[in-house]
Amino acid sequence: SAVISQKPSRDICQRGTSLTIQCQVDSQVTMMFWYRQQPGQSLTLIATANQGSEATYESGFVIDKFPISRPNLTFSTLTVSNMSPEDSSIYLCSVGTTGSGKLFFGSGTQLSVL
């Protein structure tokens, strides 16, 4: 399985600011996804990070709020913009390879917005 490094592991931010989360994989992967896990809840897919093109967002998530970059097959960033306390969640990067079916997750970023 791929080794996924996600940082920061946690952060406390002020309302109205932005935070960029990085996801680095030790091998090339075809699929990268970003998930959100609100306190005590299950995981919800934010978007699919597409290499070299705009991310594909799920219903309820927009690019202005959650801009995503994926410049190559091993790296992606998620920015949480203009944060409010409702954005306090764990954000997780997930990767997979075509044909394997299995997805693997980074260790997550615990975000608290004051």
Binding site: S1, S42, L43, L45, F105, S107
Partner: protein
């Protein structure tokens, strides 16, 4: 969209006990996975099991795709099994590679 329900929502076991966790889904799927989220938040992939039965140590899983459910068995539970167990699926038609997660089962194993 697809509904993925897990039961029970919460479970407390004595160390050494066995348990069965259930995952029901509302549509045909071509991908089903079980994950364990430990108390530190890390998600570990336990099984990729769109159909059939697999075993890995004290854990085993069975998916009956035609009846739209999957079961995760934990035998001789240990305190390190504590955490939240999620099943996640990809629907057969139009799902791409996007996993939809279930509601989760919170497991606590006590000494």
């Amino acid at each position: 969209g697809i509904q993925v329900e897990q039961s029970p929502p919460d479970l407390i076991l004595q160390e050494g006990a066995n348990s069965t966790l259930r995952c029901n889904f509302s549509d045909s799927v071509n991908n089903l996975q079980w994950f364990h989220q430990n108390p530190w938040g890390q998600l570990i992939n336990l099984f990729y099991i769109p159909s059939g039965t697999k075993q890995n140590g004290r854990l085993s899983a069975t998916t009956v795709a035609t009846e739209r459910y999957s079961l995760l068995y934990i035998s001789s539970s240990q305190t390190t099994d504590s955490g939240v167990y999620f099943c996640a699926v990809v629907i057969l038609t139009g799902g791409g590679n996007k996993l939809t997660f279930g509601t989760g089962t919170q497991l606590k194993v006590e000494l």
